[in-house]
């Protein structure tokens, strides 16, 4: 009775959101996230203050975000969803929504307005991707490089196409072992205009063109599949440059003090946020919604940036971003959304990849394996 429950629940949540009484809500909440520094930032910015407000609330963390879609689907098939709030990237949120596994969200009803009264819908703006996704941060996939491995006489790389320029910048590169982002960068550096990239990539020829471009550096690439790979490869001097999430690079540069610098050019913006699994029991749903309302308000999103260099998803949070809680450095210049960093950016096209993911991935993997 999935549908029944959704609808029952949505009636219930209207009540719950308005008069959120603790006794109607579950005393335990299972949050799913990515582990590591990112999860720590969520604990500090969201769950610690939330638990202070709600005595006796138990928060259980599950570091399963990477497999969230598959696990949630399996849980749903087994009829026993144990998660309450799940942190996923926007693309996964879209898929969960498509699969009917995530609850649809009405931003103005379920999310707090900005302090100046701007509605949540306007405050989040374009970042509300799909019907189920509650944006939290903007992160980017971008490149970092070893400053001590820049060849003598060459300028430090500042152009995305230096990734493909192995003559000027010899050395290994690390790229993610999937077509997303790599195909776009390859086309950009093969002379395709930025606003035509996805049109080109939608054609057989365009896909081949991107693979051909990647082929020119294939022997110099170490392919990564875990976010921690590139930071490790950079730290060990295994690669000259590599793509990863900007927060990972921040920690290599600022926290570990490695001779690594950012190359923000053509960084690909992506979103990460929450979803609430569909068909939760009433008390757990009430708790999840109460938490979401709290954890995605303007101040909380700004607080998260004290702990990790990802940009808050609300426009109203940006001015509130301060200094790193431990390092004491200004976080604004390390945000992917900082104007200085965002001169040339690229926005991940969810619709495109939802359609072409299977097809292009098959070609990409076949190309890789050759």
């Amino acid at each position: 009775m999935k549908l029944t429950k959704t609808l029952m629940a949505s009636t219930a949540l209207t009540v719950a959101a308005v008069s959120a009484h603790a006794e109607d809500m579950a005393n335990s909440m299972t949050l799913v996230s990515w582990g590591g520094a990112y999860q720590k930032s969520q604990v500090n910015a969201y769950t610690n203050p939330y638990q202070e407000m709600n005595e006796g609330l138990e928060v259980v963390w599950d570091e399963s975000s990477a497999e969230a879609v598959a696990k949630l689907r399996a849980m749903d098939e087994a009829g026993n969803v144990t998660w309450d709030v799940v942190d996923v990237v926007a693309a996964d949120a879209l898929r969960l929504c498509d699969e009917g596994l995530a609850m649809e969200i009405d931003p103005d009803e379920h999310l707090a307005p900005a302090p100046d009264g701007t509605s949540a819908e306007d405050d989040f703006g374009d970042l509300l991707v799909g019907d189920c996704f509650i944006p939290q941060i903007v992160y980017s996939t971008t490149f970092g490089y070893r400053t001590d491995m820049v060849p003598e006489g060459a300028e430090a790389p500042s152009d995305i196409c230096s990734v493909f320029d192995t003559e000027t910048y010899p050395g290994k590169r690390s790229l993610e072992k999937r077509p997303i982002n790599n195909m776009e960068w390859a086309l950009l550096c093969d002379g395709v205009a930025k606003d035509e990239v996805y049109d080109v990539l939608a054609t057989e020829e365009g896909q081949q063109q991107a693979l051909d471009k990647l082929d020119t550096i294939k022997d110099d690439v170490i392919w990564w599949s875990a976010g921690a790979d590139t930071p490790q490869l950079l730290a060990d001097g295994e690669v000259f440059m590599g793509s990863t999430y900007n927060g990972r690079l921040f920690s290599v540069i600022e926290e570990q003090d490695q001779p690594v610098a950012m190359m923000w050019d053509a960084q690909v913006f992506d979103l990460d946020g929450w979803i609430i699994p569909a068909n939760l029991p009433e008390d757990r749903l009430a708790r999840a919604l109460d938490f979401i309302y709290f954890a995605t308000d303007t101040q909380r999103l700004a607080d998260q940036a004290k702990w990790i260099s990802y940009g808050p998803a609300r426009a109203s949070s940006a001015p509130l971003v301060g200094q790193h809680a431990e390092l004491g450095i200004d976080m604004a210049p390390h945000m992917p959304t900082d104007p200085e960093n965002a001169k040339n950016t690229f926005l991940y096209n969810y619709e495109f990849w939802a359609d072409y993911r299977d097809d292009i991935d098959a070609k990409f993997q076949a190309w890789l394996a050759q």
Binding site: L3, A354, A369
Partner: protein
């Protein structure tokens, strides 16, 4: 016992046949034994057999297409996919009703995802169409409602469709629609919904009655509302428009709403037909693409070989199975690579484990135990840690390369590439799986008494001969057991190849994991898994034929 068989069955003391009383005595014992193993049996069935059965089922199951688009699939049967033309109006009309209901139930995106595995673009096609499908024919609905406000009135509709309290009811239609919705959403649509379509009206307006019945079921069961208090869906009204425009003869109808129906029919007679095809094409021109329709047609049966074809780099073409484009072929190659590398890993495990196991079984107990701890030590370390350690060892700036450079064996520019390729995978996996080879070998070897080799020596055999002709053959069962263990473990490994395999050292399991957790193409993952299972069983069978499975022992 020939004398007893001559004289009929042997009788027990009480005169019952001995066989029966023996059986009765044994039955209790058997039941008790069964009771003892029942927990294990249930555990194995639930956790082992059931998932395998589920996997095999998933690899061919494809009911989602016919469950979500039943009318469309039926209409599409007569369409010739080779004609080069999109299907006719009737298909689009059926698609309208199916899509409307599916989008209400939010099942259309799921089907879109499913079909997108076969044909790129279907996913967004379904997603966007689901959003705007209720716009189709809105002019007609407006016209209908402008004509008479009753067409917006929920109780009018309810009375019209139920035919009033005393009217004959069409329960068959209700049950049909119950089943249809149940198979669409996999929820239970049973129970009294406070509505049964009238027999007369459903004969008169079959499409409308059908559409209204699904609406009623959905409203009550899924939305938990009351049918008579809800305005029907656009699809119900469109169905009415279609029924009326088809020239249904209302002259004989005198039931509730007869006048309104006649007025509507007269009004609609002047309007052109609803162009469903045009509407769909306007929504998304991809609805004209024959490839999309062909995919729906090809994948409409409830069971499909599509996943299996996909798993062997083939696809369902116009004239039956055909090879995939070369730039998408990957699985056969991965299967071959997986088998080859598993064999290499098994081989290197044998080579490394044999001397270790031999040493272990011939050392005094104390020393052997100490050595055994060293063998088992890797077991106590997390798999990820072990694999990452190999990374540190083998990478270009790693321990081994540094040592080689320091020794001057390679120069700094020529550091060896030992990781992110097959070599790295083989090294790391051999290390990880080594204990699985050593342990069975050790337990077999420690049962070989030293007197055999002594006997051979006393009979005149040299050290080598007595090892090769006497010791080695007796240790073969240990090699067999270890090899089967290691090979089967290796063939299904994916964490290590993922981390150190690069592009040339990945296994088929990595693709299975990808399809399970990333692409969610569980059908394909199941097909790949089934093939892998079959491959293992075939190899097992071959092993049994060649070496003999009774020649395997774990100790």
């Amino acid at each position: 016992m020939s004398d007893t068989t001559d004289t009929g069955p042997v009788l027990a003391a009480d005169g019952t046949p001995l066989k029966r009383s023996l059986n009765r005595a044994l039955r209790r014992q058997k039941l008790r034994a069964l009771g003892l193993i029942a927990p294990l049996l249930i555990f194995v069935l639930v956790t082992f057999i059931a998932p395998i059965a589920d996997m095999l089922f998933r690899s061919v199951e494809n009911q989602i297409v016919s469950n979500t688009l039943p009318g469309t699939v039926q209409q599409l049967e007569s369409w010739d996919s080779t004609s080069g033309e999109a299907p006719g109006e009737a298909v689009y009309e059926a698609l309208y009703y199916d899509m409307f209901l599916a989008s209400e139930a939010k099942e259309h995106t799921r089907l879109g995802t499913r079909l997108n595995y076969e044909e790129t673009g279907v996913s967004s096609l379904f997603r966007s169409s689901g959003r705007s499908v209720d716009d189709i024919g809105e002019d007609y609905i407006d016209a209908l409602e402008d004509l008479n406000e009753v067409w917006e009135d929920e109780s009018f509709w309810y009375t019209l469709m139920s035919g009033g309290e005393d009217a004959a009811k069409n329960r068959g239609l209700l049950e049909e629609e119950r089943d249809r919705l149940a198979s669409l959403t996999s929820d239970n649509f049973g129970g009294n919904i406070g509505f049964v379509p009238g027999q007369e009206i459903s004969d008169l307006l079959p499409n409308t009655a059908r559409a209204y019945t699904s609406f009623a079921l959905f409203t009550v069961v899924a939305d938990e509302d009351v049918v008579a208090e809800e305005e029907p869906w656009e699809a119900v009204k469109i169905a009415l428009v279609q029924d009326l425009k088809r020239g249904v003869d209302l002259s004989g109808y005198s039931g509730f709403g007869a006048d309104e129906l006649r007025a509507a029919q007269d009004m609609l007679a002047e309007q052109p037909d609803i162009a469903f095809k045009e509407a769909f094409l306007e929504m998304d021109e991809d609805w004209a693409a024959t490839d999309n329709w062909r995919t729906i047609q090809v994948y409409s049966p409830p069971f499909t070989t599509g996943y299996f074809l996909n798993a062997i780099d083939m696809q369902k073409g116009v004239d039956g199975p055909e090879a995939r484009p070369e730039n998408q072929q990957i699985y056969i190659m991965l299967f071959k690579r997986t088998l080859f590398m598993s064999l290499v890993i098994t081989g290197s495990c044998i080579l490394l484990a044999y001397p270790v196991a031999y040493l272990l079984s011939n050392l005094p107990m104390r020393t052997a135990n100490l050595l055994m701890i060293l063998v088992l030590l890797p077991f106590w370390t997390s798999l990820l840690v072990r694999t990452s350690a190999w990374k540190v060892m083998l990478q270009q700036q790693g321990v081994i390369n540094d040592t080689l450079v320091w020794l001057g064996l390679v120069d700094d520019a020529g550091r060896l590439i030992m990781i992110n390729n097959q070599f790295g995978t083989i090294v790391a996996m051999t290390h990880i799986l080594l204990p699985f080879m050593i342990l069975p070998m050790y337990s077999v070897m420690s049962t070989i008494p030293p007197s055999y080799v002594r006997a051979a020596r006393s009979l005149g055999a040299t050290n080598w001969t007595s090892f090769w002709r006497v010791y080695f053959p007796q240790s073969v069962p240990g090699i067999g057991a270890g090899s089967i263990l290691v090979f089967i473990l290796a063939i299904g490994y994916y964490i290590t190849p993922e981390i150190v395999g690069g592009t040339t050292g990945t296994f088929i399991s990595n693709r299975i994991a990808y399809h399970i957790s990333s692409s969610l193409n569980w059908g394909l993952a199941a097909a790949l898994g089934s093939i892998l299972l079959a491959a293992v069983l075939i190899l097992y069978w071959a092993y049994d034929k060649i070496v003999g499975i009774d020649n395997v022992k774990l100790g």
